[in-house]
Symmetry: C2
Subunit: 424 residues, 2 copies
């Protein structure tokens, strides 16, 4: 029975890089990521499909029914955050493999080749915890990021993406399939579907997001032998910025803006030395670009004032600005129709998080589906979705992708191609 | 001319591990520390003295005039903070070597052996930036820290002290000289001598110090997809603690208390993940133990309240409590007399910072001298003392140590031996 086979595979993948509290720790190009990638490769080989690995470590399982025709791509990512959840990404890849096999069986039974071929993809480094920026592999594929620049990105130990991929034997050179459309299923990472008791979300747009790179430059001194009045403590100023970034959300309606600092490094980081430098990354997101822009303006003004008050230098740089991306209306109509055919309730929904589908949607018509997340938590070990919801999602994805290989969305141009030169 | 020889050696040592802004970076048992230690060993060899290295990496240059007699020890440390200054520690070691050579010449000229022998010491890991606790080598020598426990201490990369010392070839097994007294000269790391125009400080006591190990345990979640109200952000709570630790100094008279956080680590430290855990070390110091105790009580109360308000767990542990240590009155009288003999103004002074002399004073009668620090800054690259002040200090140290090898302080028991079982 195919639902059982899917669940068996899903729960097996969750054992790779498993943590003590039911999560996984599989940052990009680590040994745990390599083991998950080996599992993907073996599954594809056992199924009899060709495997291609491209120059940024994206893995493609190729189902070629119609030689020379372009490919519908379906997939997600097997990498995780440090101490992350076992659903984020992995669910979409395992679901895509099983959807592809079901479609392959149906194609064989029908005796006639569909309009397009099918590729299941495991995108490299969607999470970005080890190598920033996130959504790396799909953004390179979509032409949003430069491949050589991404291969030169380093982790905190100075290892480059190129070295890390070569180190696990996954710096490929295979041809990329020519895409015609893209589909992805993912957990919601929010509470809307759970609260409303709806099994399928149809993602219509992504939030506006941006990051701020903040560098606080104080003066290093002795914690024991420097009078308080003589200090220029970078950490005290940084602590005030952490609170500003948190509190700026209160200037807007509840849940209209999320804003936080998740990364911080202190130098020299010695118990008896007043900090010389603090480097932080703030992450601001909203469904309304004007809210992010207003919050950013408030923060820049308050940080400049803080620098004057503390007599220290603070450098703030914008980066990783990702505009609202709208998924094509034709795709939303397609997925809505499939849900009705399967007797499933569905609703349109925004994604606050970034996804490979958002990057792919700048290149080809893309659809993105959500299944419910218990308590809405993600990027943590207690992230959870039920077997029943996962199985429903696989059924839904299978039918959507089958329609895509049969030609749905192929002519759609309802996308913002003009934005493709920016960052995803 | 011996002052020129001293200055030449001092400024040469400042080139080892030199940084771009006139500082040095020679954390304990790093390659830069190893090069400084090699310089020390070569200097001692060239001078014709025996070199011993003990089981915790302390280096002793032995001048044995009277076989079987115990040793006056004189020295400081050649290791530094990361991006530290070139005076802190190194000045005291180079000054001690030159003082020893001058005394050796005088002894040879006099034709009669002094009461005691002399050992110049380079203590291992006074700074504690890489391996905590600080003042490690002299505290092991004084019996305040257990040697095996210290050899098992790890740096942030998991390397033990034992491995690091063995790695640079300085895990010794030589006998330690039997001490009879100890002398050390150091930069003030404060502004009192500079402000008052006094070339020599006679250290009469050390400040009361303690550290707090603070662990903030929130919940990891997605920065983009978690509503602000649902977060338990460990970094936001930690930022409030950083400010509490800074602001508690305002409860007391100006300069009565210094309090700060110099070490902080964030987990998982990913730009798009709300922090699960923040680990910090706070450092509180005062000349009055009651002030530190009152500040600690305020912080514990406020941190407990914060944990309740944020619905997260915060663990706070006391460690590295170092009581006020008084240097013996006889030593202060001795050094005051030497200053007068040399026509130098001097004053009694407290040390806010920890020093090897504070640890050694729990074992044998010890004297500690300060020379002025320009602007009072230390543990940073712009730490500075003039050549003239350094040269005056070497003259002063030479005369003091000569009196010690001739028997001064030998019978003094005006020290708190009862405290020797605690931590230095």
């Amino acid at each position: 029975m195919s639902t059982a086979a899917f669940l068996q595979d899903f729960h097996h993948v969750a054992t790779i890089g498993a943590t003590a509290n039911n999560g996984v720790d599989r940052q990009a190009a680590t040994p745990a990521d390599a083991r998950t990638r080996a599992w993907f490769a073996r599954w594809v080989q056992d199924a009899g499909y060709a495997l291609h690995v491209d120059g940024i470590g994206n893995m493609f399982a190729l189902l070629e029914w119609t030689p020379g025709a372009p490919y519908v791509l379906v997939g997600s990512h097997l990498d995780s955050q440090p101490l992350g959840g076992r659903f984020d990404g992995a669910y979409g890849v395992v679901a895509a493999l099983h959807a592809a096999r079901r479609i392959d069986v149906a194609v064989a039974e029908s005796g006639s080749a569909p309009a397009f071929n099918l590729a299941v993809v495991n995108w490299f480094n969607e999470e970005g915890g080890r190598f920033a920026p996130s959504v790396m592999g799909s953004s390179v594929f979509a032409g949003l990021f430069d491949e050589d620049a991404m291969l030169a990105v380093t982790d905190s130990a100075g290892t480059t993406v190129r070295e890390a991929l070569a180190g696990i034997g996954h710096l490929g050179s295979d041809a990329r399939p020519t895409p015609v459309s893209y589909a992805e299923i993912h957990i919601e990472q929010g509470r809307i579907l759970e609260r409303e008791g709806i099994p399928i979300g149809l993602v219509d747009s992504s939030w506006y997001t941006q990051k701020l790179d903040i560098e606080v430059l104080g003066e290093q001194s002795h914690t024991g032998a420097t009078a308080m009045a003589d200090r220029h403590d970078a950490l005290v100023a940084a602590a005030k910025i952490v609170l500003m970034v948190n509190d700026v959300t209160k200037d807007f309606a509840e849940e209209a803006l999320v804003s936080s600092i998740g990364q911080l490094a202190l130098e020299p980081n010695s118990p008896i030395v007043v900090a010389r430098r603090v480097h932080m990354v703030a992450d601001l997101r909203s469904g309304d670009p004007e809210i992010v822009k207003a919050a950013r303006a408030t923060l820049l003004r308050d940080i400049a004032e803080l620098a004057r008050a503390h007599d220290i230098r603070i450098n703030v740089l914008d980066f990783d600005i990702r505009p609202i991306r709208r998924f094509p209306e034709a795709g939303l109509e397609l997925t809505g129709k499939v849900a009705r055919e399967l007797g499933l309730a569905s609703r349109r929904i925004q994604t606050m998080a970034g996804h490979d589908a958002v990057a792919m949607n700048t290149l080809v018509p893309s659809v993105m589906l959500f299944i419910p997340s218990v308590d809405g938590v993600s990027h943590c070990e207690r992230e959870f979705s039920t077997d029943a919801d996962m199985a429903t999602g696989v059924d839904m994805l299978t039918r959507v992708v089958h329609k895509l290989v049969d030609g749905a969305l192929a002519g759609d141009t309802d996308r913002c191609f003009a934005a493709a030169g920016g960052r995803g």
